[in-house]
Symmetry: C2
Subunit: 197 residues, 2 copies
C-alpha cells in the first residue's frame, strides 16, 4: 500500500525538479553559461563540507548547514531569482518569497513542511551560527565564479568592490579566515581589472 | 595569512565546478534537456532528506548518506558518465573511476582526501545501510524523471522493464516501501507505453 504521505513527498520531489530551470547571474567557469539554483545549491553543500573548519564556532552543526543550503533557494521556483544588487527587486522580495514558501513547502506532509519552513526562515534571518556560515558560503561562491570568469557579473554598471565587500560582511566575525581570503580575492580582482575599485 | 591548506581546498572547490558540465542521459521534466551531475546530486540529497523514514534500518545516518550522494559522481569529472545500460562502457568503468578518484580527491589536504575517498568507496561497494539507501535514491531518481517525460531514455533499443527493475533490486530489502512504489511506477509506465514490458 502506497500511503498518501509518500505520494505527497514524491510529488514534492517531482515539483522541485524545476529548480534546475531557475537561472542565476553567475556563470560556470568553463562554459560561461548561467548556472542554475540546483547547481549552485549543490556547490554550496560541497563547500560546507570542505570548509567547515573555518567556522568560528567549533560547535556549528554542519548537517543543518548542508540542509539549509540545499533548500535555501527553493522558494525561487515560484518567486524567481532576485539579483543581489537589484534594489527594486529587493523591495518586495520578502513578501514574494514568503508566499512561495507557503505554496511550495505545504505540498509536503505537515511535519516536514514545518521543519523545512523553519530551516528556510533560519537561513533568511541569518542569526544562528549555522545560518551565518551558510550565508557566508552563499556570498562567497559567486565571488569564486566571478574571479574565475574575468569578473563576469561585475562588469555591469554600478558594481564596485565596496558593494561586493559589503555583501560579504557576515563572514567577518563568523568565518574570519574566509573573510581574509575574500578580501584578498577582491583586491586581486581590482588589480586584474575584473572589478571596479 | 592564508594557509596552503585553504588554497588547496578552494582550488578543489573551483575544480569541481566542472561537475556542472557532465551531462547524464536523463532529461529535466519541463525543458527535457539533459540534466548534469551537479543537478542530479542536489536532487538526490533532497530525496535523502525527504524520504529518510523509508530506510528499513531506522539508525541509518542520513548525514553520511547526504555527503555520499553529494560526492558520488565527482569522479566523472575525469572519468565521464557511463550510461547504466552500456555494457561495453562498464568493462573498464571501475579502473577509470579509481584513477579519476586518485587524481581528484588528492587535490585536497590529505585528511580530507582520505575521508572523501572512503565515502566514495563506501558508495561504490553498496554494502552499508547508508550506501544501500544512497544507491536506491540514485536508481529511483532517473525513474521519476523518465516517468514524467514519457519515458524519455527508455525509448532506446534494448531497454525493457525487466532491465529497469533489475537495476533497482537494491531497494527491495533496504527500502521496501520505495521498492513497492518503483514497481507500481514501472507497471504504470508499461501501461502508458513509456517502457517496453
Ligand atoms: Ca538566492
Amino acid at each position: 500500500m502506497i500511503s498518501e504521505r509518500m505520494e505527497k513527498q514524491i510529488q514534492f520531489i517531482v515539483t522541485i525538479d524545476e529548480l534546475k530551470n531557475i537561472t542565476r547571474q553567475s556563470v560556470t567557469i568553463r562554459d560561461r553559461r548561467h548556472e542554475n539554483d540546483a547547481e549552485h545549491s549543490w556547490h554550496l553543500a560541497m563547500m560546507a563540507m570542505i570548509l567547515s573548519e573555518y567556522a568560528e564556532d567549533k560547535n556549528v552543526d554542519i548537517f543543518r548547514v548542508i540542509k539549509m543550503v540545499l533548500i535555501h533557494d527553493l522558494v525561487e521556483i515560484y518567486a524567481g531569482d532576485t539579483y543581489c544588487y537589484d534594489e527594486k527587486g529587493y523591495e518586495d522580495k520578502d513578501e514574494r518569497e514568503q508566499e512561495a514558501a507557503n505554496r511550495l513547502f505545504n505540498m509536503l506532509p505537515e511535519d516536514q513542511a514545518q521543519k523545512m519552513m523553519a530551516l528556510w526562515r533560519e537561513f533568511e534571518e541569518m542569526e544562528t551560527e549555522e545560518a551565518a556560515y551558510a550565508a557566508t558560503l552563499d556570498r562567497f561562491q559567486p565571488l569564486l565564479l566571478n574571479y574565475n570568469t574575468d569578473g563576469h557579473t561585475w562588469q555591469r554598471p554600478g558594481i564596485t568592490s565596496a558593494k561586493v565587500l559589503k555583501r560579504t560582511a557576515v563572514a567577518k566575525a563568523r568565518v574570519p579566515q574566509l573573510y581574509e581570503y575574500i578580501e584578498r580575492l577582491i583586491q586581486s580582482s581590482i588589480e586584474r581589472g575584473f572589478l571596479k575599485p
